[in-house]
């Protein structure tokens, strides 16, 4: 099944949720999806026999503040999928506003655990149903989300004592 037919199949099944097929500079297809249907779409993409996008290559986000599309959602969560069977790539984007939660992809891929923690740490997008949502790169006492466009890039918060360890790790 070649790429055009695959994209047709996705669009036929999810015509209400999926919109705007674009291509980036190297020809990777990008699909925007609505926030409510994202887990359904990802499950379909992972399990369908013809599509089989079984590899979550990356889960990241970006802040779209100041751009004209900001009215639909300030943050964009990006899922990069790869199919080892047909060697095809696909990018799914989901728009979310400040404070809105996105359903977690850890139900499908365990690798999404740390990637969603990084998105939470850097952008402040909470993931509903995530087993362990806490900061991964910054100190646990850090205030703010650094990769947002309105965080002053030079404002650093220095903690001179080591951060306290969470109790679950101390017990085991």
């Amino acid at each position: 099944m070649d790429r055009e037919k695959r994209l047709e199949k996705i669009k036929n099944k999810f015509s209400s949720a999926v919109s705007a097929l674009e291509y980036d500079k190297v020809g990777c297809p990008i699909l925007f999806c609505s926030k409510e249907k994202i887990i359904e779409l990802l499950t379909f993409l992972k399990t369908d026999e013809a599509l089989k996008f079984e590899f979550l290559a990356d889960l990241t986000a970006y802040d779209d503040m100041g751009q004209p599309e900001e009215s639909q959602g300030r943050f964009v969560v990006v899922y990069n999928l790869y199919s080892p069977h047909s060697h095809d790539r696909l990018r799914i984007k989901v728009r979310a506003n400040d404070g809105e939660a996105v359903a977690t992809a850890t139900v499908l891929w365990k690798a999404a655990n740390w990637a969603e923690r990084e998105v939470w740490d850097m952008y402040g997008i909470p993931f509903e149903g995530h087993p362990d949502l806490r900061r991964i790169m910054m100190d646990q006492r850090f205030e703010g989300h650094p990769q947002r466009k309105d965080y002053y890039w030079r404002k650093y918060q220095l903690f001179l004592d080591a951060e306290p360890m969470p109790e679950e790790l101390l017990k085991g």
Binding site: M138, Q157, L158, F159
Partner: protein, 165 residues
């Protein structure tokens, strides 16, 4: 010891002997974090040999070393760990800030990078460069040896910490 407290002939000779011994047998504790760590490995290996300055053993334990070489970018999350390692070293100890990132934060003037390790520990010699050339490192090491010989090691005051916004 003479009556005004200044050390007499015997004490200064013993001091000079002790300093000679210390400067010629510096055992480094390599705290290599990023690219400067590779450069430090290059200085320690065959072509620019640092072991001819006494650093034959490179001790990875702070308890057994006297020179802390901080090579690489230190982030704000790593700063308390660095202070911990420095505190575990026994006197006399010296610190070498290897490269631009540990001297001043380097090109990374951002929210996550410590702007110079002298914000948390006192430094004796700064070696500029990104990464510094091995000749520069050896020059810095010899300057440190001169400092030890004139007994000025380890008393550099902590630089006033940069204003946090």
């Amino acid at each position: 010891m003479s009556k005004d407290g200044s050390p007499g002939f015997f004490t200064t000779t013993v001091d000079a002997l002790a300093n000679w011994g210390r400067k010629n047998s510096l055992w480094p504790m390599p705290f290599g974090t990023s690219c400067c760590g590779i450069e430090m490995m290059a200085v320690l290996s065959a072509d620019y040999d640092m072991s001819r300055f006494g650093a034959e053993v490179v001790r990875f334990s702070p308890r057994q070393s006297d020179l802390l070489i901080v090579a690489g970018t230190i982030t704000n999350k790593m700063a308390p760990v660095l202070k911990n390692i420095y505190d575990q070293m026994s006197e006399p100890k010296w610190v070498m800030a290897f490269g631009a990132c540990s001297s001043s934060g380097g090109i990374f003037d951002t929210y996550s990078v410590l702007q110079g390790i002298d914000c948390v520990i006192p430094v004796d010699v700064y070696i500029p460069g990104c990464p510094p050339s091995p000749e520069g490192v050896i020059h810095g090491l010899m300057k440190l040896q001169e400092r030890i010989a004139t007994n000025k090691g380890g008393e550099v005051p902590l630089k006033q910490r940069r204003k946090i916004y």
